[in-house]
Amino acid sequence: MSMIECRGLTKVFGGTKALNNFTCEINENTITGLIGRNGAGKTTLLKIIAGYHQQTSGEIKVFSEEPFNNLTVSANMIFVHDQLNLPTALNLQEILDVMAGFYKNWDRELAHRLFDYFSFHPMQYYNGLSKGMKSTFNMILGLAARTPLTIFDEPTTGMDAAVRKDFYRALLKDYIAYPRTIILSSHHLDEIEDLLEDILVVKQGQELLHMPIAELREYAIGLEGKNALVKEWTKDREIIFSKNGAFDQSYVVVRNDFSESELYQAELAGIEILPVSSSDVCVYLTSKTKGGIDDVFNKG
């Protein structure tokens, strides 16, 4: 069953389309990774799902309802991002107590255990926390609220490597115990990909890819070898990325529609076949030019 349905969603901010005819469905009780470059429209999409913004045109349903100004959606959803407006007059303990009143599934014990584990002090104030500690505290709110729809927009900003690891582990463990729909936006696909069931890639306000993460790993393949040879093997195929190396060598990434025997023959011909990681595929697919940053420096 789908938890979120968007059809032809468009959001205009001052003449630019942050979302442009965006269509997608997110299934219930999945962890979906939302991936895209800066300014691709990720946060706009999440804000519309959360009911913070109203779309310019198109349709959106969350829990089968329009999310904007909707009580059902706000009671069953938590949207964690790095500009949470938490009361400055309350200390951290009081914030946790207030949150418990807002969310009916709030897990006091989990909140408390995480609070202690990450060495927070009940009398601290949110505004006095460092960037990484703020993110960690937000994460506690997001997990303990245990809402049927949980959205994390770049939750790991400022967290150190150990805390990020702990966060991913905590998220997974709590998801296993209490399955729910989770959307996780991140720039570090390599860090989160094992947690994900589905991946949604956004480019210029549109859905570029939406598939099980397992399929993305086999989506593309890299061929490396002599220019002419690689050219021959990649002609008539969808080229995702290409780079010319030294000594007449080139590296080309294409859609992986080769059969096993074709790959074998290519290897016999002297081409090296390389796997392409999910995060590289996303970088290649979401970049504007096929050669990447190197094109800027190649004047001739």
């Binding site: 296993i176 094992d194 290897e267 796997p275």
Partner: protein, 126 residues
């Protein structure tokens, strides 16, 4: 066991191979219940859907069987199935790679066989 998360192999394949090794090593007897997708997700820190995919591969290959509502269990001939599959697929592919590398290096068939024998002999001496 650690998964090669950035390796060539999809994670669900690595999960199914790990389970096969567990069965080969005798950690699971026939008709014994194997790990659930949630246990695997917890062990390897992966999405339960990915773990389920690994289990389903083995169910399709009739190495595991499902009991509705109870989980997955090891088939009685699971060990034989795994052994013959590994021989026909994994080992064959490895041999292919060896032969290809030998061709690249101009190593003759005779030389290659001698190399294999040398490794075997070394093993026996130990």
């Amino acid at each position: 066991m650690t998964l090669h998360l950035d390796g060539t192999k999809p994670i669900y394949i690595q999960i199914s191979e790990w389970l096969e090794n567990e069965i080969l090593d005798g950690n699971f007897e026939s008709d014994q219940k194997i790990y659930s997708q949630y246990q695997l997700a917890d062990i390897f820190n992966i999405n339960p859907a990915t773990a389920a995919k690994g289990l389903n591969i083995l169910a399709e290959e009739q190495i595991l069987y499902k009991k509705r509502g109870l989980g997955m269990f090891v088939e009685s001939n699971a060990k034989d199935l795994i052994l013959s599959k590994r021989k026909n697929q994994t080992l064959k592919r490895l041999v292919q790679e060896i032969v290809m590398e030998a061709q690249r290096l101009n190593v003759s068939k005779q030389e290659l066989i001698e190399m294999i024998n040398a490794i075997k002999l070394g093993e026996e001496r130990e």
